[in-house]
Amino acid sequence: MTAINTDFGKDLSKYGAFDFNACYNCGTCTAVCTLSTEEDSFPREMQRFSVLGLEDDLKGSLKPWLCYYCGQCTTYCPQNANPGELMMSLRRWLISVYDWTGLSGLLYKSLPATTAGMILIAAVVLFYSFSVDFDLSRIMHTGHTFEIIAIVGVFSIILLPNLIRMWWFIILKPRIQVPVINYLKALWDLIVHMFTQKRALGCDDNELRWFEHFILVLGYLGLLFTTVFLNWFSSDSVFVIVMGYIVSIIVFTVTLIFVYDRIRKKDEISKYSQPSDWLFIIWLTAMGLSAFIVRLFIDTGLLENNKWLYLVHLIILAQWALIIVPFGKWTHFLYRSFAMYFHRVIS
């Protein structure tokens, strides 16, 4: 027996969902969805669970991650109940559910808290720079060390435990019996989905968007690799330098297209933007663009007289690494891939 929790809806609306109560369960959304199947039918069921506030069912569901937001459900909804944005909000909510620190929920729901965090990080970077008398080579060295520590730290302290929590909600808590071999068999799916997001091709007319997203992911990973492991800013290798330019251009160009789409609000997917969405794409643009200009200034010998430029880049990087990656929208990169992984493990 399940009890109704009407307060859940109020909480969910803080993650961006609205008007989902207007649903009269006709099922049009599920019928038009090209990704919904008989075994995994959505979004109507998710809509219904949200209206009734069946939190445990939602926490253990992979369905929000199986949706890649083409927006057809919202277009055809006769009640304007906006199932597409509900699924998006459920993903935001799930990110906060998986996060053991509770900071994800706080940052999603509270713009002031997010702003305060960003300012604090900027202040720490500036304070450190001041403490070393704005010695550029020391700052750049520290910046590079910070990158490595941040990657290792965020992954081991935040993301890995969160993935284990996700595993617990999806498989352990509902006591789903899974043979261990399944975990090995499904690994290939994990890699494929992580690097290709091929499920998104199942959405109608989504080829262009999938391609943009695909090269953005490759560009982003490339930039990460070039700056952190090949130490782009200090490298003399022509190959590394050119590669850094290419991947940084990819990152800020594609994200600029996404920013433009969200301003234009033409497609369902870009109509409703939460602060977390803006933060994610603007910081990604800024990171690609600032990295590009920093290297350009190095190559033209202008950086020594424009130290502020590297400071700006470092602030953006620190904010990205300490807020957006562990607690923000960045995590969808991991959860989506692992959702597909767990989905394969179960089935």
Binding site: M1, T6, D19, N21, A22, L52, L54
Partner: protein, 643 residues
Amino acid sequence: MKKKLGVYICHCGGNISDYIDVEKVRAAIENEEGVFLAKTTMFACSDATQKEMVQDIETNDLDGLVVASCSPKLHLITFRAVTERAQLNKYNYVHANIREQGSWAHSDDKEGATEKAVQLVKAAVAKVRLSKSLEPIKIPSKKAVVIIGAGIAGMRAAIELAHMGCPVTLIERDHFTGGRVAQWDILFTSDQTGREIVSRLYNEINNSKNITLLTGAEVISNKGSIGNFRLQVKIKPRYIKDHFDDDKLKKVIAVCPVEVPDEYNFNVTNRKAIYQNPGQYPKYPVIDIKNCTRCGECEKVCDNIDFSLKEEVIEVEAGSILVATGFDPYIPQDGEFGYNEIDNVITLPQFKRLIDLCHNDLLFNGKAIKSIAYIYCVGSRQSEGENKYCSRYCCTSAIHTSIQVKKNFKNVKNFHFTRGIRTYGKQELLYYESQKDGDIYLQSYEENPLMVSTENGKICVKINDILTGNREISVEPDLVVLVTGIVPRSDTSISQIFKLPGGRDRFFNEIHPKLRPVETVIDGITIAGTCQGPKNVTESLNSGLSAATKSFSLVNKGELELEPIIAEIDKNKCTWCGECEKACPFDAIRMVKQGDKDVAAINNSVCKGCGMCLPVCPVNAINLISYSDKEIESMIDSLAGKG
């Protein structure tokens, strides 16, 4: 005996001629006695053929017409009109049905169908040979209408009739007008209260010279029929003389020691033996004499009380009667969803009164109500029993009420346990508003009903929600509201007095739901509002206006033309045994004195010519005009091949 008959045999496109050899039929009857002209035609009902028939009758001076075609239900009136256009009395037309009774019934046997068609047409020819010209019966009709029931349908009908210049007597059994609507607060879609609507209607009635309003009045018998109904009406006194002011009324009510459940509030509260409800008209208190103990306290503070007033019986005459007696709300059985067994389970009408009576906080039995479960279709759409129908108003009313509750009181949660919402038409907007506002809707099927129980002193409603994959879902509400439907009045006196038939659902029946929606099989009696079946306010007023127009058409000319095909009594043969009176379904036969002999007499304005009285007469003293023994026997002879 007629000698110049015209016969037309219709192909009906191919509906008839694909199976019946119409040329063979024509050949078989063209030499029948009296047949002057026999033709086949592609469509007898077409304009061209009708014109041809008129011309044939006029040029050949035909004295009878037969058309062999479809069912008389479809085209009897069409071809009667043809004869009238050709100056031939329309009762010299006889219809032979060779489609429904021929080609369609025997499509597997073409020869047999043709043979049957020949016999049917011969029988029609035999009948028309003996047919007589008839004139409609004319009876005077009193230009006055009685309306029974002063709810909104009856009140609106009265106003309309009065506007058309027709005197109206509006008879209300209760001491106050307005019926159910007077009990309601704000209504959808006009946002006016039921009381406002009733007060507007009442003021118009009060200002109309053509309307006589009788309250506390009950029809006890009827002596007449269409054109001249004569009703005996019993009028109960209020035991109050002259009007008096509100202050005095408050004093009188305060001193009355009697307390009884207040039916105006569906027994949610009590009232005194002297009462006057705020929204009801006339604004004139009444003493409930059944419950009054005659203690005399009221007389001490008010000299307007007069217990010497007596019941009186008056006679009211009218040409037509409009019945608008309304409905009873369904009262759940004990234990039906916890009704009368679990505290805080009430009906929707009770709840509507409750929220009207509560001001700042929603309280029931002294407890604050913060969450409400509405259980729909209680007493409606039941597969077992008589209430199989949907009561139409309740989905909208429950949703509207739940929205009002949220508007009037803070932090109230609504849970709707439905069997599928039916907020048809513009009412759908209300459903949308309610859902958007966060009301929760759950749904189950009748065969898997929800359960209301108490657990640890709290009410628990459990449902296998089909919208959540049949999952068992529970709510612990503070109050359960049973959304009860509409049932026919338990008091059947009106149907007994007028022999008004009801349908299977026991509501009054119209003649035809689409074509004659406000007429009954009793001539001169129309029906309006919820006595006919579930309706909302708008629909009740629509039918009230419609019935007013129909009743007006019966009395307006002061004279009525009725079908002359009725029974007639041979008073010489009749020995009055009373069998015919018993057999008559329309109460059209009475015993009269002829000299010193008792004989039967037909009330021409009531007889429908059904023929039920004919076979029961032991001395064969009854003749049905246009269906005399001679005519019927000649038809039988033709059918049997003896003709």
